[in-house]
């Protein structure tokens, strides 16, 4: 059985290992490209959002590469994504491909279904113990992928030679990709951290700090968000994003409402007290958190026509005003020309810089 999975940032490193560990052949999805977009757009309903189109395009590409089963995730609440894998399955079947999408829903919504699907993935001769250990190992790799990516964005604004941090990250990611055992993964982690820390940095500046929030797919997939974090990093801006796969899994899949998650809801509470699907409520809560942490601004990324993010956007002006933090919303769709985004980013940075200077002046006067 040849297995594949959606491309989401750098997570492929971990999923690739897990599938190979389980004894299946893996088809690593290519990074979303123009071709992915073309395929996705051609066969998707016109009104569906960009995550749907790119995901469908990716599955079609992996089918060409021989994939037979695709692992995907579902969703609950009022967001269309919950039905996406069902739609994609139908479209793929209509195109005459023999390809099965195995969609994992959050377990608490249907334990039986979750276990049934795990059963389908678990090789028959493998013990549950080994199976769970392998999943844990894969999860560990995923966490470390997140960690080194996080470090890349942390160092980027300070780098002296443009592009060094991105190169160091690539080296670290390759090392992690090769690591197969728990010990190797741990070694690769330290090596990776070292490589990144060695990038020559100039710490005399205080970069602007921008938080990135929004819908999970467009926040995580740099191939569709024009590498926004990398772009900002190279413009000398420190960015932090609210969503990471591992924290995502931790908060949304395994144990509902851990510490961090409850915080977000609590923070959103004065403005929004209702699940609006997707990451809508998170977006509101995260703005409040970033404001409290002293960030200069927030960028909300949303797929064009995404209902949860549109609802959140409607509340944003009030949150922004009351918390005193500028927020810019960027809608992401099929566009491939980055010029429009670059203009907005530059203007937003100018705004934040002047605002910071003004605040400093005010403090001096006081």
């Amino acid at each position: 059985m040849k297995l594949t999975f959606p491309h989401m940032g750098y997570s492929y490193v971990a999923f690739k290992m897990l599938i190979e560990d389980l004894g299946y052949e893996v088809v690593v999805p290519p990074e979303p490209s123009k071709r992915t977009m073309d395929l996705g757009v051609r066969y998707s309903p016109e009104f569906s959002c960009i995550p749907f189109k790119v995901l469908l395009g990716t599955f079609l590409e992996t089918i060409e590469m021989g994939a037979e089963v695709g692992i995907s995730s579902g969703g609950v609440g009022p967001c269309r994504a919950g039905y996406y894998s069902i739609m994609q399955q139908k479209i793929i079947n209509e195109l005459g491909h023999d390809f099965k999408i195995l969609s994992f829903e959050p377990p608490q919504s249907n334990y039986l279904d979750f276990i049934k699907k795990l059963w389908m993935i678990k090789p028959k001769r493998m013990s549950w113990r080994t199976f769970i250990q392998l999943i844990k190992k894969g999860y560990k790799k995923l966490e470390i992928t997140d960690e080194i990516e996080f470090l890349m964005y942390r160092y980027m604004p300070y780098e002296i030679n443009k592009g060094d941090t991105a190169k160091a990250f690539k080296t670290a990611l390759d090392m992690l990709d090769e690591a197969q055992t728990v010990d190797d993964i741990e070694d690769a982690r330290w090596e990776g951290i070292k490589v990144l820390a060695k990038v020559p940095q100039d710490r005399s500046q205080t970069p602007l700090k921008i938080g990135i929030i929004g819908e999970i797919y467009v926040v995580l997939e740099h191939a569709v968000n024009f590498c926004i974090q990398k772009n900002l990093g190279e413009m000398g801006v420190y960015t932090d994003r609210s969503i990471w796969l591992t924290s995502y899994a931790e908060k949304n899949v395994f144990v509902e409402g851990r510490e961090g998650e409850r915080d977000v809801f609590q923070m959103a509470h004065p403005y929004l007290n209702e699940m609006i699907g997707g990451h809508g409520i998170n977006s509101i809560g995260e703005i409040v958190i970033y404001a409290k942490d002293g960030y200069d601004g927030v960028i909300q990324l949303a797929p064009f026509s995404c209902i949860p993010e549109i609802m959140a956007k409607g509340i944003v002006p009030r949150v922004s005003r009351e918390e005193g933090i500028p927020v810019m919303t960027v809608f992401i769709d099929e566009q491939t020309a980055a010029a429009g985004l670059v203009t907005r980013l530059e203007a937003f940075i100018d705004l934040l810089k002047r605002r910071r200077e003004q605040n400093a002046d005010k403090r001096q006067l006081a």
Binding site: E31, E346, D350, L351, R355
Partner: protein
């Protein structure tokens, strides 16, 4: 020699050049149509403006803005390349003291800029559709065979503006055709279009923004008195169209160029008005290094690559200094 500063704004529809002196007085300004050929229009504009400025001036700083700002920047040797939003805000706060809201409608995009205490605190640009921008008005004026210059004048003559759907250019156009076939007067239809455009702008670009007076209205579309009137009716207060409404972007970036050179005490990178004599060329190829197949644009000056854009990974990027 008098010190002077050059600002160039290359937008989708128009290209504006401006030369100012140290007191921000305009020595020469030019409004040209880009016609999809920014290179040619910048070259022509440079030649034209060099004949308009007094002989005893020297350009000590140059800046570019607009959607072709990087292209124009490498062509003329700009000291500063700045986005339109910042450039507009800078210029307007000089002309409309205490301005708190700037409505800007250009050829392909429209934006709103909110200022408080002369500092930009918020802005938005149209994200999804060009409905309600200059290009659409251009198109409609061509369809109705009315010169775009007369559009605004006709609109304010209307007595009973008809209602036109403004959310989408397709809806707007079919609405206009249907109303026209019912026999409504052209004035009423044009006024209805202006109102629809303003409604769309305020609902889309201006959504959630606190629009406080003084309100300035600029960009190419500000020449249209019909739109100005529709804005005033809808907002309930006066809308100021600054004298140089069409060249505000260029003005702003000229001021920014001056500030930069004065601050850093640098020599200008400006190549002189002679850029007209160089031959410029843009050629592109598809990079095959990865499945992205990025279109790499190469920009040549006299056969030599002076800039390259377009790769997602940054592999090909060069910016000649």
């Amino acid at each position: 020699m008098k010190r002077a500063f050059l600002g160039i704004d290359v937008g989708s529809v128009s290209t504006n050049l401006i030369v100012i002196d140290e007191q921000d007085e305009i020595l020469a300004s030019l409004y040209l149509r880009t016609q999809g050929q920014p290179i040619r229009v910048v070259q022509e504009g440079m030649q034209e403006i060099s004949s308009l400025v007094p002989d005893d001036i020297e350009i000590v700083a140059a800046g570019t803005t607009g959607s072709a700002r990087y292209l124009a920047g490498v062509m003329v040797g700009a000291d500063i390349i700045k986005n339109e939003i910042t450039a507009h805000a800078i210029a307007t706060s000089r002309f409309v003291p205490g301005v708190q809201t700037i409505l800007e409608i250009g050829g392909q995009d429209s934006k709103i800029i909110i200022l408080r205490d002369d500092i930009v605190t918020d802005f938005a640009m149209n994200t999804v559709c060009a409905a309600g921008t200059g290009s659409f008005l251009d198109q409609q004026s061509a369809r109705l065979c009315i010169p775009i210059e007369d559009f605004g004048g006709l609109a304010i003559k209307a007595e009973h503006p008809v209602r036109i759907a403004g959310r989408c250019t397709v809806f707007a156009e079919s609405d206009m055709v249907h109303k026209q076939q019912l026999g409504h007067s052209t004035e009423d239809i044009i006024a209805g279009l202006c109102e629809a455009l303003v409604r769309n702008y305020l609902n889309n670009v201006g959504k959630g923004k606190e629009i406080l007076p003084p309100v300035a209205f600029q960009g190419g579309v500000a020449a249209n008195a019909g739109i100005k009137k529709a804005f005033e009716q809808s907002l309930g207060h006066e809308v100021i169209v600054p004298k140089h409404f069409a060249v505000m972007g260029a003005f702003g970036v000229a001021i920014l160029a001056r500030e930069k050179v004065e601050q850093n005490k640098e020599e200008t990178k400006f190549k002189g008005f002679e850029v007209t004599d160089f031959s410029y060329q843009t050629r592109s190829f598809e990079c095959k290094s990865c499945p992205n197949h990025c279109e790499i644009v190469q920009f040549f000056q006299n056969g030599e690559v002076i800039a390259r854009w377009g790769s997602r990974c940054g592999k090909w990027d060069v910016q000649a200094s």
